[in-house]
Structure formats: structure tokens, C-alpha cells
Symmetry: C2
Amino acid sequence: MTEKATPSPEAIKAWARLMRVSRQLVESTEDALKKGGLPPLAWYDVLHELAEAGEGGLRPFQLIERTLFAQYNISRLLARLEADGLVEKLPVADDGRGQTIRISTKGRETRRRMWAVYGRSIEELVGAKLSTDELNTVSALLGRLRHPPADD
Amino acid sequence: MTEKATPSPEAIKAWARLMRVSRQLVESTEDALKKGGLPPLAWYDVLHELAEAGEGGLRPFQLIERTLFAQYNISRLLARLEADGLVEKLPVADDGRGQTIRISTKGRETRRRMWAVYGRSIEELVGAKLSTDELNTVSALLGRLRHPPADD
DNA sequence: CGATTATTGATGCAGTTGCATCTATGTAGA
DNA sequence: TCTACATAGATGCAACTGCATCAATAATCG
């Protein structure tokens, strides 16, 4: 019956911190990548998924499931990655509509160089700021905000 | 001497959770606003700052300090807000370069209607998921990731 | 089979962002 | 004062995003 019109001050504060911090971290990292003449974070996300998938590659719709990119976004991002020679698009034997995306050697190399910067950013901006226990606490609590919630 | 090449698994996980959760929350909220025929979150941020500033208004550069928007972003956002009649641009007496931005009545009304949706989003996505203690823990830990760090 | 519906991925268009630069005004220093 | 430099804000252009829709293939069902 009672509609909660406004969240608690604690919820608002947590939300505000989350928004501000995540934007700052992204911005810092994007700056660092740019300074290193490297592609934006979005490219890393895709290259990372593809590197984990190995030689079998992934279908674009699988990338959509694994990342938070919209379909049109993946479509165009893959076009750019292909234009840069970082991925290959292969036809799929049993589905004429689809394609399999496989990371190339150059793609792995780019990913490696991005990680040198990205990883440093994570270490400096997060790893160095909180203890292991605190990091685990953050992960656990944020995991409950995820959809679907993660328990680990 | 020793360069830390890669952050700890705990730091990586916390980072990943932070990135994913913040994107999901933003996306959910933007969807809710759109569904209500309301402007995007960025407008809320600015309207909120201007509403808090009261009749005196704020200079654009003060908005840049308070939010995380780039200068050109604020410039154009304010142009859109003005075009929609949500803010007024007033000349500044002692600085011919500048202007003061003041929220209009319609701006306050729009902010109010946005908050009805935004606040509900915060409550559902965050407030309802964690206890007050947990929310405070999240805020405190994220505060330490902020730049500059916040202790409260 | 043949028609309908669903899925995969691409794309035209309008709106937004990022970058670099520009104009205008203010400040400081010789 | 006159010149150099700094600050406030706007803007042209290219790239990117979001939306809607499209074409092509696959799956379903009578």
C-alpha cells in the first residue's frame, strides 16, 4: 500500500558514490589508454572475451550476452576491429545468417599492450586503495546489486 | 624497483563488478526515464545542482566542478536546457565573459518529475538490495576510491 | 511443402560526444 | 598604457550512440 517515494539517504549516498567513482575510474583509464596511443576500453572488453574464447571464437550474439553492449554497438565495434585487423569474421557452417569472430595475432598483441595500461590503472586506482578484505567486501556487496545477483 | 605488472585477482574482480553494476544501473534508470517520457540522467545532475544553488544560480564553470562533465558538454547541455525552458542564462555583472545559470520553475517541475522515477530506481536497484549498514559500508569503501578520497 | 514467425546481423538517420580551436573578456607585467 | 597571457564559454568537424528498420536465413506449424 505504502509507496516508497524516496530512497533512504544511505541508498542515495551509495548510489551517488557508485556513479561518481565509476565515471572517474573509466575516465582515468580512458585517458591513460589514449596517452599510450591505445584503443578505448570497449575494445578491450571485446578482445578479452574473444581471447578467452580461443580459436573457436564467438558469435556476435554471444558477445552481446557476455558484455553489456547493444546489438548495433557490437556490430559496429566488430567492423572497426576487423578494419584494424584485430579480429577475423568467419562464416558459420550450420547457420548462414551468422559469423564467428576470432581474435587475430595482432588482436592478441593489442590486447596485451592494452592490459599493460589497463591493469596498471586497476592497480593504482583500486588495488592500492583497499585491502584484500575490503576488495572482497566491495565485490560481494556489488555482486548483490548485479542483475542477476552474484553470491560469490 | 618492482613494477607491479598485474593487479591482484581481488582488485580485478572489484573493478569488474563496479564497471558492470554501474553500467547496469545507469541503463536501467535511463530506460525508466525514457519510458516516462523524461530527459536523460545528465539533465537531472545539472538540474539538481542548480536547484540546490537556489536563486543565485551557478556559473557554468561551477557546474563543471560539481559534476563530471567536460566543458563543451556543459556548454551544449545548458543550451539544450535553455531551449527547453528549464534554465535561464543571465549575464554576470562583474565578468563580461560569464553567465549565471538559474533553474526555472519549469526546470524545478521537470526535476521533480524526474526524481519520482530516478528515486524509485535508486530504491529498487540499491536501497532494497542492501541493509543500511551495508549501504554505509559500500559508501565508505567507494569513498576511498574517489578522487579526492572522501572519509565520511 | 508453404506460409508465418523468430533470429542474426547490418545500416540510415538524427542526436551526442570528444577534440581542437576560436572569440571575448579579464589579469598581470614591462 | 600596451602587450602577453589566462580564463569563460561556444563551436566546426569527425566519430560514436541510440533508435528504428531492413535483409537474409532459420525454425515452426498447419
